[in-house]
Symmetry: D2
Subunit: 294 residues, 4 copies
């Protein structure tokens, strides 16, 4: 398959800085001055202020060509500014792509979509690992050249199964876990180990139809629009920070099967956007909400 | 103001028949034959079958020009077919427009919208009555030539206030009550008196954010889309059959005030569609759901 | 891969009748009576009247279980009704799925999408043949078990190349040709041979940006929404009857590459809907327009 | 009518700076430093870089409470920064609202919408003047307390009519002219006098259906979506920079009248957004395109 953006992607050598701190006069001046002093060529900058929580949030991406120091030493150079404003920050280098694991059960539409987008250059990450509690997607994984691990999950073996999963995440040095219609509830321990590192797709317009069988319940309630929601997984089921939502129109002519079919198109788009925004460092989290710098 | 469709509207002389009955072979043949025998010129016909509930639902509209009998005697002519298939039916004549009352509190955007659409010929009904528990919309009512009645509602006078309302509905021969952001909860007695005759606009994507202050709760939850829902009022708050829903996209940049503002545009469109479909006999109800023949 | 709807699909044994004729009283009565007399169990019926062109259009689907004659003899049984009303009609049996060929150049997103939907049971047709003027999609075709034929197309060999294509269509008994981002203009001879049997996806909101490089031109014009359009191919480029259109919102932050990326999601959905509606006999054509019975 | 946001609006005392200049390192640092030195409390900042045209564009809004100098003297204080980077800039003070004239023919839906939004506090501008070539909207203007001037326009009196219009714009000190379905083509002289100061609503998804009767042509072409476009008026008809676009879905059941009715809802929303963004200094223009800082 032709990798459309591979050339430009490989050529890209940028740093992306995400910052959260209490809002205060002079923050932008301090950051902009720091970057200017070190000869950063800013490509994109975006910021947000939350008055209610008195928070300042920023994303800035610059070309590393001509930048005055090795970004590996960013921490020490940035310490003075960072300390002055009490910043939480993270730096992401385009040449160190995130490593993503995908967990899936038997429905393969989100998985097939993510793998195809990745191959076509839409997702600038590595996808070295697929874990499933079914064998259905093994051929697909093989076609795209991704390691596939089958781990059965039952009521009785959950602890062991998750232990196996953790060990695979460690072995493959995974940064992000994508639940691409993985029909198992993760243990609190699992969730706690990977904070802000697990993205799920829920097949409803949250907070409507939390929990199981949302399309069936949407059908029963007689809604006129169905939705899908991608979100970070937190300790409470389907209550984590929402990243993206999409909807489609339905009518009385649509049966549950039609809702499921229409829903698949929503799930694909809504999940792939969340993954792309995460790996491109476009998401900041606060107060159980997301800021998306798109 | 120019009434764009007045001429064609006045010229229109049609009958619209809505039918619900158990599904059975031969229903369409029987209805089509009945209409053909009486020389009906069918303009639109639409039907729906619900396999799960074994129901047949139909809407058919025909030109009364050349129809072989006075539609006032429809009941006796149609009795044989109707009895054979155990039909529930209603007949609506375009020359007998429904009479609509609008109830409103201080937010006037839905009211202003409905009155403007009515004046412009989009809503083929009469709107003789506006009832409000505030004086804010009195000037608007006067501008559009609609009788305005102020009825204060407090915790203590609810029974008397509703009695006054019932008496106005009777006096004005009201067929449909539209709650155009009327911020009072109707008593069970009120709701029971006007079954399938009260349409409300709820400012969320139901069933998310049932109850009060939905925009505030949507803001807190961090959703990426907000919605509005028009529905028939039933005994349980915000649980009646949904007629129409709309959504709009929001981002982290939107404050509660922005949600409220964007929501107003949704509410206007979503409520006006529900009113139009109702007065044009496009809605059939079953199993707490609506079939919309649009 | 799990074929979600395979069981129900195989069990399905229905006939779908599409009718176009001059509008006249008694048509529905005649058709409904015909079906009732022959013990048809109607599952869906939908009709449309076009007053301007005095046309009646109908789609009716019934269960063949219990139907009183072999649908292979439909023509002779239906002749009296058909002649009386001067009908054009076509009958489609669910157990004789259409045979579809897909033509594609190097962009594989629509192809991958159609093959995946087909495998998952969303598209009730056979897909025995893929033709491409590039080798890029050969592995994908092989993965899904579809015959792949490479036919180079140059300025000089167009006639020979199309002759090869025609011969493949004949050999594989193709009913429908889907241009899934096939970047070659078909000759008038090609188009004339397969009337109403070629579906194309154009990557703009037609009639805006007819012709080449629509995303680049959309970017230059500064539009705020981009679109995609699926349509039947007719003799004039991008002027055939439109089947479906979709749009997505863009902003000044989107570069041409972003438009192309967002466009891919539109193209997938808009093309797959057109293919599905065609193979389910949901489309009627008149006056260079489509009626979609969905 | 209750003016929902009046209190907060009156309290608001901010300055908004719009900047366009060639892109160069250090711009943000210089602006941020300038604002910090003068004790500006930044409320919102947004920027955009256009690589192709090597342009930097920025919008920044700050609270004037505590700002170190009178914004009337902004030009001299900002001169050094502005000259260094070769900036074009404009400063807008919230306490000096723009003065808007609305021109309208007989269709009043956009006018009614703008006046209602203004009254409810959605549009922070003054609307002192309505000009029409029909008398239809006079009562509406009066209801909302806006001066109404009737100026007939014929083939023969166009120059005189426009002269009258210019003199009214001068008298009322108009900053922005909104064509709210004004069905007359402005002369080149008119357009040249008010560059980037005239906003029009076109009832199609431009660039499709440029010119007259777009809904009729959309109907004939058989499109599945209709649109509306708000744009600045430039010398070439319907070719000015696009500000906002909206679409709605239609089907074969929709007649031209239905397209017109659905279109009215689009036009209202799309025009009012353009007006709001203009008066809130959210729009920057370059290369016949708009950047919207929303």
């Amino acid at each position: 398959m032709k990798n459309i953006t591979a050339t430009s992607a490989k050529a890209k050598n940028t740093a992306t800085l995400l910052i959260t701190c209490p809002d205060k006069k002079g923050i932008v001046a301090a950051i902009a001055d720091f970057l200017y002093q070190h000869n950063a060529n800013i490509l994109h900058a975006d910021q947000h202020q939350d008055a209610e929580n008195n928070l300042f949030l920023m994303r800035v991406e610059w070309d590393l060509e001509g930048f005055s120091f090795n970004p590996a030493h960013f921490s020490q150079h940035f310490a003075e500014v960072s300390n002055r404003f009490n910043m939480e920050w993270q730096l992401k280098l385009s040449q160190k792509p995130l490593r993503v694991a995908i967990m899936v059960s038997q429905y393969d539409h989100c998985l097939a979509d993510l793998l195809h987008r990745h191959k076509n250059g839409e997702l600038m990450c590595d996808i070295p690992l697929i874990i499933s509690n079914h064998h259905d997607t093994e051929a697909l994984a093989k076609f795209y050249g991704v390691d596939f691990h089958y781990i059965a999950v039952t009521k009785d073996n959950k602890v062991e199964a998750e232990a196996q999963q953790f060990s695979l995440f460690a072995k493959y040095e995974i940064d992000l876990i994508v639940l691409a219609r993985y029909m198992q509830i993760l243990s609190p321990d699992f969730v706690a180990r990977y904070p802000k590192q697990i993205i799920n797709i829920h097949h409803s317009f949250l907070p409507a139809f939390i929990g199981a069988k949302p399309y069936h319940r949407a059908f029963e309630r007689g809604v006129k629009l169905i939705g899908a929601t991608s979100h970070y997984v937190s300790e409470v089921l389907d209550e984590g920070p929402i990243i993206e939502q999409g909807i489609d129109r339905i009518s009385h002519r649509d049966q549950v099967e039609d809702l499921i079919q229409k829903g698949r198109d929503l799930e694909r788009v809504v999940l792939s956007k969340a993954v792309r925004w995460h790996i491109e460092s476009r998401i900041l989290l606060y107060a159980n909400k997301t800021v998306i710098f798109d």
